[in-house]
Symmetry: C2
Subunit: 167 residues, 2 copies
């Protein structure tokens, strides 16, 4: 623990390329773990990671419009539409015509969709919970700080809006 001298002390004067490289590789390998558990569940179904992401953010921001979901996910509408269509066909997602603006479609999870989302996110939370417990509260705070500093500004705005409030 704290074996790396460049992480000690108050300054980051010794922030070497070597130090940064370790962070980059940690990010790469950790992301594999991050997605591993949901991926295993999805592999049995006909779904992929894209379906998971859609389910997650539809659950998070209930009644979100397709356009809003697009900007969160950062993909094209054609790409999202393909995923969304299968989820709607399979009865996991419900698309309701907007009341105020009837061009908009508002997206909701059905009970079946909520069940799968719960299963996927619980698997992902379990790993995150275990990592948080192992690392401790101070490490968790640092983890979040670095991640937030790593986001693109436009993406960070999305994240911040989601983080606390409700859209």
């Amino acid at each position: 623990m704290m074996a790396d001298p460049s992480l000690q002390g108050e300054s980051l004067l010794f922030l070497t390329d070597e130090q940064l490289r370790k962070g980059i590789e940690a990010m790469f390998f950790a992301y594999r773990g991050f997605t591993a558990d949901p991926d295993r569940i999805l592999a049995d179904l006909t779904y992929g990671r894209a379906h998971h992401r859609a389910l997650h953010f539809i659950n998070r921001t209930r009644g979100t419009t397709v356009n809003n979901l697009l900007s969160i996910l950062g993909v094209t509408k054609q790409s999202l539409n393909r995923v969304l269509r299968t989820l709607i066909e399979d009865g996991l997602v419900e698309s309701r015509v907007g009341r105020k603006d009837r061009r908009e479609r508002h997206l909701y999870l059905t009970s079946k969709g909520a069940e799968l989302e719960r299963q996927l996110s619980e698997a992902q939370r379990a790993r995150m919970r275990s990592a948080y417990r192992a690392a401790g509260p101070q490490a968790v705070a640092g983890f979040r700080q670095v991640l937030e500093a790593m986001m693109d500004d436009s993406i960070k705005a999305q994240y911040m809006a989601l983080k606390d409030g409700r859209s």
Copy 2:
């Protein structure tokens, strides 16, 4: 800063699903930022993220065999081979028959390959450096701790072997 009550104190008794969800979404959005800069460079060339990963790890573990690279990257040999072939054809990577075991191919970056790798990793390091500076040394230590705890055990072994030593 430190607005989240569950991150204060010594224990993680208040480690709620809400808290975990924020971590999950932070990871999702941060990874987008993490890959954004190299992706922009690669988009102009004919290459993708897979080429970047190959260049990175060939540079990291010079003279690595194809099999070793496969286990680091976690893909099939067919998938890696496709990427590797284009890199060799384009003169970015050199494949040398093993001296002791002549079945093995040892992989090296050419000067042209090293140049692209440097360009890609410098872009990625720049973002990482900026994030590290913004978050501070203690946060960086926590960041790394949580990431390491998040890895699959088998993957973590790979990471640890890479982290300090040289293969």
